[in-house]
């Protein structure tokens, strides 16, 4: 008997098979997740750990190093963090600090990185060697060590504000620099034998050390990415631009860098993500970032599992936002049709 060509048995129909495969895949994933959940539940019971998410509403009762903003979870409005606020609000205050560090750190790292990256390619021997030294020394030492160095060996060695070690001041005490940090527009007062600044804009040593440390460390990687990006543009582009009468700088700015940017963006994004995640080393220099306040919450409530689930998700969200922004930038820069 001859089979008519339009009747294919369903197990040989590619369309049906692909649907079946998808369904099977989902079932397998679901089974895997369910198995993991069962295992987790059993382990938790065996270890006597009972998850309880309500504790996030309890008052935190501790202060944060840098007074900061947080979200009032009842009214969803911004407010100043105070110790009466809940544990959740304390962690959110830490998250705000982390975001502050990330934004400033990324901006500073990018500026430094571009400068050093371009300097690496300079035809001036001294400049390119200095840039090479900068990159190699700072890239090959641990970040935590560098942060300790910035904080304990540099920022804490600034004047203490005692009479024989007075603060550095500029513009008639408008700008004051002590080992407490940089203060702009505050009033100098003496307290406990030390000149300290009240009010005004204050940048604490812990924050400064963290931002500078992160930015300098990350800038070495960015410099290498910039250098690689520029080198990846065929020499002919620069030569053609020069032969059209553009100066070296103009050729770099108008022809080479825009093309290099396309190559640079994806690895640059990785460095931005690294900087954001590395900001959790703040705990070493006493800055109240998200991890620091979460650690305090965890050790006061002893609810480490719940706290760190929250923190992991928050870092994940932060990283995804940065990735999304960079993807937008990349899409805008992409050549049409690619």
């Amino acid at each position: 008997m001859r089979r008519s060509p339009d009747v294919t048995p369903f197990w040989r129909d590619a369309r049906i098979l692909s649907v079946v495969a998808q369904v099977l895949f989902v079932v397998v994933i679901a089974a895997g997740l369910w198995g993991a959940k069962v295992t987790l539940d059993r382990s938790l019971v065996r270890q006597n750990i009972r998850l309880d998410w309500r504790f996030f509403k309890q008052p935190a009762g501790f202060n944060l190093t840098a007074l900061t903003w947080t979200v009032d979870l009842k009214t969803l409005s911004l407010k100043r963090y105070s110790p009466e606020d809940s544990y959740a609000e304390a962690i959110i205050a830490g998250l705000f600090n982390t975001i502050k560090v990330a934004i400033l750190g990324i901006a500073l790292a990018l500026i430094l990185g571009v400068l050093v990256g371009v300097a690496r390619l300079s035809r001036n021997w001294l400049v390119s060697r200095l840039a090479l030294g900068y990159v190699e020394v700072l890239r090959n030492t641990p970040l935590l060590v560098q942060l300790f160095f910035w904080y304990f060996a540099i920022f804490l060695q600034l004047p203490q504000g005692t009479p024989d070690n007075p603060p550095l001041t500029l513009f008639n005490s408008f700008v004051v620099l002590t080992n407490s940090g940089l203060a702009i527009g505050g009033t100098l007062t003496e307290r406990f034998g030390r000149l300290v600044v009240d009010g005004g804009f204050q940048m604490h040593s812990e924050f400064a050390a963290l931002v500078v440390g992160l930015a300098v460390y990350t800038s070495t990687f960015i410099a290498e990415i910039i250098r690689g990006g520029i080198l990846a543009i065929p020499r002919g582009q620069m030569e053609a631009a020069r032969s059209m009468g553009l100066s070296y700088r103009k050729a770099l700015r108008l022809v080479v860098l825009p093309q290099a940017l396309r190559i640079i963006i994806p690895p640059l994004g990785n460095q931005f993500l690294n900087l954001t995640k590395n900001s959790s080393l703040a705990i070493g220099v006493g800055f109240a970032d998200m991890l620091t306040s979460a650690m305090t919450v965890a050790s006061q409530s002893f609810r480490a599992l719940e706290t760190f689930t929250f923190v992991t998700l928050a870092y994940l969200a932060l990283s995804l936002v940065i990735s999304a922004i960079l993807n937008l930038v990349r899409a805008r820069l992409a050549l049409p049709g690619t």
Partner: protein
């Protein structure tokens, strides 16, 4: 299709095996785990002068807390101790996860902490005070208006000082560090006007400053900090081992059994013949308590080794709660009948 089937089977089998293996482990006491391992994993600070620090000459871990770790190992007859350095914030997760067997790390017993872990007998009664520069004229909490205060992250100290300052309605700035050493360094460098934590740590660190006279511990203690060992919840066999180690060392002091006497069978027999209580302690658990005393000495010997009057980190004991119960203190043992 075959491939898909193979994948499905592989995943199902893996999940099943993992769940089974995880499920199949019968709950074992930590005591059996430690004995089978032959090594006690003990959580300590590692950078707290007096309590646990690296002895500069031998390079070994030393200190009040470290000696209690060794005592527990000797008590259960396990040959070696592995020290794990923990921060204030990481010690409880480490206990809950079971990555350390016991933690001796200047940990205050509190109600809320006891919901998650169990505490042994108090090894040291402490209280929170202030370390200030002698020249600063700060003599107590009431002088702290506008002060910059250093302390450690995730400690009861952090919360106590916040409460005290809010009670007094004083403005202050808090700078928190992960380790006492860092907090002390920040304080010495002049980042803050006060360092506050348990008085024992203030005293011990002050002694290590380049010029201790520049600093002083001031004010009455404003918190109660009974420091005790920490271990996992609901493991009474293991709890007994740790608890009776501590009580054994205290009872050995009461009965004047020292490291030297514990090392000599003849002397022990002499003491045991004279005092039935001592005989019970000496013979209990195949001489478990005596092994602990032989390893580190009795409670007074440990105390004086690090906080004795002749030490730079001296912390007076008579008249405080750290004295023996019969001397008016709070250090008491349990009968070893």
């Amino acid at each position: 299709m075959k491939k898909t089937l193979a994948y499905v089977l592989a995943v199902v089998i893996t999940v099943a095996t993992v769940s089974y293996v995880v499920h199949a482990q019968a709950p074992r006491s930590r005591l059996d785990v430690v004995k089978a391992r032959g090594r006690l994993i003990c959580g300590i600070s590692g950078s707290t002068v007096g309590f646990s620090f690296v002895e500069p000459r031998s390079g070994e871990m030393a200190g009040f807390d470290a000696d209690f770790c060794r005592a527990v190992a000797a008590f259960i007859n396990v040959p070696s101790v592995e020290f794990v350095q923990l921060t204030s914030a990481s010690r409880i997760p480490a206990v809950i996860a079971g990555s350390v067997d016991v933690v001796f790390r200047t940990t205050t017993v509190t109600f809320s902490r006891d919901q998650q872990v169990d505490f042994g007998p108090v090894t040291f009664y402490d209280g929170q005070r202030l370390l200030v520069r002698t020249a600063s004229k700060i003599r107590g909490l009431d002088d702290l208006s506008g002060a910059r205060i250093c302390t450690q992250t995730g400690t009861t100290s952090e919360r106590n000082i916040t409460d005290q300052m809010r009670l007094r309605n004083l403005k202050f700035e808090l700078i928190t560090f992960a380790q006492p050493k860092e907090a002390f360094d920040g304080f010495v460098a002049g980042r803050c006007d006060v360092w506050t934590t348990d008085a024992s740590q203030l005293t011990a660190f002050r002694a290590t400053a380049p010029n201790p006279r520049e600093f002083m511990v001031v004010g009455p203690p404003f918190s109660d900090e009974p420091l005790a060992p920490v271990y996992q919840e609901n493991d009474s066999k293991w709890a007994d081992a740790v608890n009776y180690t501590v009580w054994g060392l205290i009872l050995a002091e009461e009965l004047a059994i020292t490291q030297i006497t514990a090392g000599s069978e003849g002397r022990l027999k002499e003491i045991g013949d004279k005092n039935p209580d001592a005989k019970l302690l000496i013979t209990a658990g195949d001489g478990a308590a005596m092994r602990a005393v032989r390893a580190v000495g009795n409670y007074a010997e440990i105390y004086n080794r690090y906080f004795g009057p002749a030490k730079i980190t001296a912390i007076p004991r008579p008249g405080t709660r750290n004295a023996l119960g019969r001397n008016g203190g709070a250090m008491t043992s349990r009968p070893f009948r």
